[in-house]
Symmetry: C2
Subunit: 305 residues, 2 copies
């Protein structure tokens, strides 16, 4: 049995206060000089997408910290904060299996002990896509990620590309504010049939679950369409919306092509092969099935997505 | 000659890029485990007020970093950014004399290499006093202090209480965002005749310089008045404004009594001895002499200021 496998089986240390986490980290760092810390911030109800982030962090760093915190600041007043799924016991098993060393599980009171007056706000890159559909969402993300970075002081932080806009926002914030951390963007994990892993998938009825495949299927088709000679951004978006609208239970929140990672808009009449010469493009989808809002995306680059 | 005096005479290392500063700090920290870093952020044109912060940092920490950066983000469009006084050579002499180990002197291009989209915003505590007179000023302060904290990663950071509201804003930001740094607030230094030291004092004409004493003189009187039995917040403010208005060249920007450090307003009819039972009070003054705006303040506490 390799050392790696052994260390993956060790029960992670569960820490619930900032003070204890800081003390633990200081001790570990003083024991091992030059210790690299990988950090995986999550809202819990972990699936293998999170698992892949933890695995990668454990492979690349001497110490891996997983945080589980359902951050009220990033939910709108009409959103699913109260019903957001939680399963601490199952999360801790997954954390252990994937190689997390420390699991930070703070309460809301621990993270926001008094009325917080400070916000970390990123403009432009937050204003389209999920930022437009969920006002204030990325203000909450930027603020809590700043707090967590200050508490954990990681060498690297791991984020999933399913939330491609979140990756772009966090990277912009890190660059603008000189956070001393490397952001590692990791590929979206999918079920065998293509559905992107998401904690919110548990909300889907069997019928919705079947129809939800329209997201990944459409992204795959779009990847082929994007290679057609002369196709424009507007034409691609139109075909994507048409494909999504064929699913009777699906209600489109957005389906947009934008520059990545700047999230700048693209002129509808611009040809894709021209547009791709300047930056990759993000084809981002958000679709509601009943009360459940799913997102998925593909990043198109010069060589094809 | 003591070790302290010797180390104070060593020429500080002058660093102009973030990369070089980070590498230098990493090297020093790997050489001395548990090295404490004291940080003194300034806009340069140093005087003995800054000197006292550097001295205190040098006494309390193994390594002292002084930054000199006139931050465009905290100046309004009609403010004195372009004419803000600079004297790098003199600053470096003072830094050496007072015991700074590293002087970080970045260009505007180094600190803001591209259009920055991220802001650190503190509400409420920024909305009165200088925050009201200088819209956007504290957004610029919060943002640049966040950047500098991420670059220097100090154990302690030293700020002068002449800018009492700045101290309150930075402390609020540090608490809200869990910055791992201790804020050390240091007393205002004064000329023999009472004028608070400020880089902007060089702007004063001889006549203005004489009249500028009205700030410190009024604060001293106010400290006596505040001990009168039954005196109310409104009465004290009124006497202060009257005293300031007797100086023909002085134009009052504000003269206000507020709770410290929350900067909450106080009812004018509230008696000072009652108000002081809940928190210290800040008597803050901002007065213009021609184009030059001077600030000064006194913190009144239960035992008298």
């Amino acid at each position: 049995m390799s050392t790696l496998t052994q260390s993956r089986q060790k029960t992670p240390l569960v820490v619930r206060t900032i003070k204890e986490l800081r003390e633990t980290l200081a001790r570990r760092r003083s024991e091992t000089s030059g210790l690299k810390t990988g950090f995986v911030p999550t809202m819990g109800f972990l699936h293998d997408g999170h698992g892949s982030l933890i695995r990668r962090s454990a492979a690349e760093n001497g110490l891996t910290v997983l945080s589980i915190f359902v951050n009220p600041l990033q939910f709108g007043p009409t959103e699913d904060l109260d019903r957001y799924p939680r399963d601490e016991e199952r999360d801790l098993k997954l954390a252990q299996r994937e190689g997390a060393d420390i699991v930070f599980l703070p309460s809301v009171q621990e993270m926001y002990p008094r009325r917080a007056l400070t916000r970390v706000l990123v403009s432009e890159v937050t204003e389209s896509l999920c930022g437009a559909s969920r006002p204030g969402h990325f203000d909450g993300v930027g603020t809590v990620v700043s707090k967590l970075f200050h508490i954990v002081e990681p060498t690297r932080a791991y984020f999933g590309l399913k939330d491609a806009q979140q990756v772009a926002v966090v990277q912009q914030m890190v660059d603008d504010l000189n956070f001393n951390v490397e952001i590692v963007a990791c590929p979206t994990l999918r079920e065998q049939d293509g559905l992107a892993l998401s904690s919110r998938n548990v909300y889907l009825s069997p019928q919705q679950r079947v129809e939800a495949l329209v997201l990944s299927r459409t992204l795959q088709q779009a990847s082929h369409w994007s290679k057609e000679a002369g196709i424009t951004a507007g034409q691609l978006e139109e075909r994507v919306r048409l494909a999504l609208s064929r699913s009777p239970l699906a209600s489109i929140d957005y389906a947009e092509l934008r520059r990545y990672p700047s999230l700048e808009a693209i002129e509808p009449q611009q040809q894709l092969d021209e547009a791709l010469q300047h930056s990759p493009l993000l084809l981002a989808l958000a679709v509601r099935f009943g009360n459940t809002r799913l997102i998925d995306n593909a990043i198109l680059s010069m060589k094809g997505a």
